[in-house]
């Protein structure tokens, strides 16, 4: 493993270097605070030389000198808990890195899990109730066809179960602003063939692949609000070409679009019957440096 790590090191990012050097500075500073400077120098000379290889101290000889200067502190007073913890972490660099990558993957898995296919509800309650339940679980809101009242889940996730009374009623308007919906969640909404309004403002997981799946609503969708979604780029907006029946489109404040002026014009050309709203962009001409 040592050889592998040495090959990986040239590709360490600057941030990782800074992280490690920050931890090592704290370590050294904590050492110098408790032990006389003369005994610190062997340990400080060891750590820069090991900056190329991980500080996991595989060879026993290099681990002896830093830890030997730890013991003077035990005779004076134990160093504070956070210092000891940071010292422990400097010797566990790859473990910390592994934990960080696991937490990243766990975040993604959580999003996928929230957007799974509600198979049980689909089988036992019908697809419309399943879609409704999915929307309410993600803290969104909807309105049935022919009804005027909205079923919305509040901030804590509580909602009114009265929607179960309306069996086999399709949904007409769906509001999923600021929820965690992603492309997988559209599996639950696939059967809604009479969906007229879809509002997905500010959803962090809505990206171009989500927009590409919106073609399933091409016959019925009239109003679409995708403003403030950070992951949408121009390539995804090209996917809206299938929604020929769209009457109102809101693409305000999309940070992912590089040249909003051109894109808005092209969108208006692509969807001639649609009224495109695009606020929140800075259209001033900037000098190319």
């Amino acid at each position: 493993p040592v050889e592998r790590c040495c090959h990986v090191c040239p590709f360490m990012s600057l941030y990782r270097c800074c992280q490690r050097s920050a931890l090592l500075v704290v370590y050294r500073r904590s050492l110098s605070s408790v032990s006389p400077p003369s005994s610190v120098s062997p340990s400080s000379s060891v750590s820069p030389s090991s900056s190329v290889s991980p500080p996991s101290s595989v060879s026993p000889s290099s681990s002896v000198s830093p830890s030997s200067s730890v013991s003077p502190s035990s005779s004076l007073s134990p160093p504070p808990l956070h210092t000891r913890f940071l010292r422990y972490l400097t010797q566990r660099f790859y473990d910390v890195e592994m934990l960080q990558s696991w937490s990243f993957l766990r975040r993604w898995k959580r999003v996928q899990k929230r957007n799974t296919y509600y198979g049980y509800a689909q089988e036992n309650y019908g697809s419309d109730i399943a879609s409704a339940y999915y929307i309410l679980n993600l803290k969104g809101g909807f309105r049935f066809v022919g009804q005027s009242e909205w079923f919305i889940a509040d901030q804590r996730g509580k909602f009114n179960w009265a929607f179960l009374d309306h069996k086999n009623t399709p949904l007409e308007e769906v509001n999923m602003n600021y929820t965690g919906i992603n492309y997988r969640g559209l599996d639950n909404l696939e059967v809604q063939k009479s969906l007229r309004t879809l509002s997905i403002r500010g959803c962090p997981e809505v990206d171009d692949w989500f927009l590409a799946r919106l073609h399933m609503f091409e016959d019925s969708l009239e109003e679409l609000d995708i403003s403030h979604c950070p992951r949408i780029t121009t390539g995804g907006l090209a996917a809206l070409r299938n929604l020929k029946g769209l009457k109102r489109l809101d693409v305000s404040s999309l940070p992912g679009i590089s040249s909003p002026g051109v894109v808005i014009i092209l969108l208006e050309e692509m969807l001639p019957k649609c009224d495109v709203t695009a606020n929140g962009y800075d259209h001033t001409l900037r000098e190319e440096s």
Partner: protein, 518 residues
């Protein structure tokens, strides 16, 4: 290895037998790092006398490390001549650092069950990728094939790209942005080939591809800028189709593979050393079963070379795979074929919804960026294949073969900015379009049936092939990488069954042809 560890343990027991007065009798703190036991000493200052046993422990640990290095499998050698050479031994050598090669490297490392269990080296002769097919490709991905294997490969690759950051994310690096344009592919068919298109449509739908068929009137409604003369049927991809940036995908695979421990080597494979075993088949013929023992890698612009011993070789060399196979004495029907791509500029051309349009005459074109640029190309006829010794572009080809079809199909492009090209035809009064620029790239063209060759060779026991995709390599690369990694590590295909794309069909002369309309 274990003998050294046993000596270490016995020494500690020996401490009790030879008490040295200066030594503190405390339990040394130990913790395990991997398979090594690390010892923390609690003494405060240098010992008064040299402790023979303590020094012996340290010396033995150093000797143990040196012995480990000297064993085969490590890179240490007493004569260190050149540090820039590839390693002497590797488990899997992937010849070719294009998107297929790096995809295979990533998937092998992803699937290995023991961390650092498989040593993978990717050999690439040109780090600038100046002639590599990957980066010169138009970058399209589609599910509109006729072979089920191709459809499944494309769908799996699209699924991979949907979650590309979860697969190829490296900690503390920027997320991967493929710049995927979800604009879909549009195939046009005339009367004669419309039935083929319908059958392909049924196959594609049965595998879950989101494709729709359009009649001529529906086509005119959807895309008013298309001239629908002669078009009987059109097939339009609704989802998971479009184009992306091939360089980004290549670098994403490469970065993730390098972070997982794959080694990269810049050099050219010039020779393959193998052993032969003569066997007799059931019919009584003699067949030489070969096994590659080492790969000779020549460093670029130098006479220095390194013979790498390896267990397996993967031929992902793209257009030059045929040359590599010839070094083994086997024939692989893959050769480079040059294809041109021309960039046109037309401010009044079709807008954001321009799909990747492929006409039944073979001419294709797609939008490039937002500034009214388009790229176009076509496959030349078999007899008029251009010369493959370099990547020079023939502009005459555009005027003769592409422009007439393109101008008739998309009349809006006829209003391209006119300019007079410095060519022999500049004296003619006909309007010539402005071709802003052009480039050429090689297809790894499978002369047998224009579909990929994936699998082991029947005669060479440890050479895997992942080449011959004839223009579809980039869009199939994630799924092909996974398939080859499954072959190498699991022994057979687990996710998509690609046995029909193996070498068997070439030996038995049963081509798996794509029933395309072009």
């Amino acid at each position: 290895m274990s003998t050294w560890r046993r000596v270490h343990v016995n020494l500690r027991k020996a401490h009790g037998l030879f008490p040295v007065s200066s030594r503190r009798v405390t339990q040394p703190n130990t913790w395990k790092y991997g398979h090594l036991t690390l010892c923390k000493s609690l003494s405060t200052s240098r010992p008064l006398r040299n402790d023979f046993f303590k020094d012996l422990e340290v010396q033995l640990a150093a000797m143990r490390q040196k012995a480990l290095d000297a064993l085969p499998g490590s890179d240490w050698s007493p004569l260190e001549i050149d540090r820039g050479l590839p390693p002497e031994r590797a488990d899997v050598v992937i010849v070719g650092g294009g998107v297929i090669g790096w995809s295979i490297a990533y998937w092998i490392k992803q699937k290995e069950r023991v961390r650092g269990g498989v040593r993978v080296v990717v050999v690439e002769k040109d780090p600038t990728y100046s002639q590599a097919s990957t980066v010169l490709s138009a970058g399209g991905i589609r599910q509109q094939f006729s072979l089920p294997e191709n459809i499944c490969l494309s769908m799996a690759s699209a699924q991979f790209m949907k979650n590309i950051n979860e697969h190829l994310h490296v900690l503390n690096e920027d997320p991967v942005d493929l710049q995927f344009n979800h604009s879909g592919y549009l195939f046009l068919a005339n009367e004669e080939v419309a039935h083929i298109m319908e059958e392909n449509y049924k196959t594609q739908r049965s595998f879950g591809a989101h494709v729709s068929l359009l009649s001529a009137t529906q086509l005119k409604e959807k895309f008013p800028w298309i001239n629908t003369d002669g078009v009987a049927l059109a097939s339009y991809g609704l989802e998971n189709e479009g184009w992306f940036d091939p360089w980004t995908l290549l670098q994403a695979f490469r970065r993730k593979a390098l972070s997982l421990g794959v080694e990269q080597c810049i050099g050219e494979v010039t020779d393959l050393k193998y052993t032969s075993n003569i066997g007799i088949t059931a019919e009584g013929d003699q067949v030489a079963q070969r096994r590659i023992k080492s790969v000779k890698v020549q460093v670029r612009n130098s006479l220095v070379y390194q013979p790498m011993e390896c267990a397996m070789v993967v031929n992902a060399a793209g257009a030059l795979s045929g040359k590599l196979a010839a070094m083994m004495g086997i024939s692989l029907p893959v050769e480079p074929r040059k294809r041109y791509i021309y960039v046109l500029n037309c401010p009044d051309g079709p807008g954001l919804d321009t799909p990747f349009l492929i006409d039944y005459s073979g001419v294709w074109f797609r939008r490039e960026g937002l500034g009214g640029n388009y790229i176009a190309g076509t496959s030349p006829e078999e007899a008029l294949e251009p010369d493959t010794s370099d990547l020079e572009v023939d502009h005459q080809f555009f005027e003769e073969k592409i422009w007439p079809h393109l101008a008739s199909r998309v009349p809006a492009l006829e209003k391209l900015k006119m300019c007079i090209l410095m060519s022999p035809s500049f004296l003619s009064p006909s309007f010539l379009p402005q071709v802003t620029s052009a480039w050429a790239g090689f297809y790894d063209y499978n002369t047998f049936d224009q579909n990929g060759v994936i699998g082991l060779h029947p005669i060479v026991n440890n050479m895997f092939f992942a080449t011959g995709f004839s223009g579809h390599g980039l869009q199939h690369s994630p799924a092909v990488g996974r398939a080859v990694a499954e072959l190498i590590l699991d022994g057979n295909f687990t996710s998509i069954d690609l046995s029909n794309l193996g070498f068997r069909r070439i030996i038995q002369q049963e081509p798996m042809l794509e029933r395309n309309i072009v």
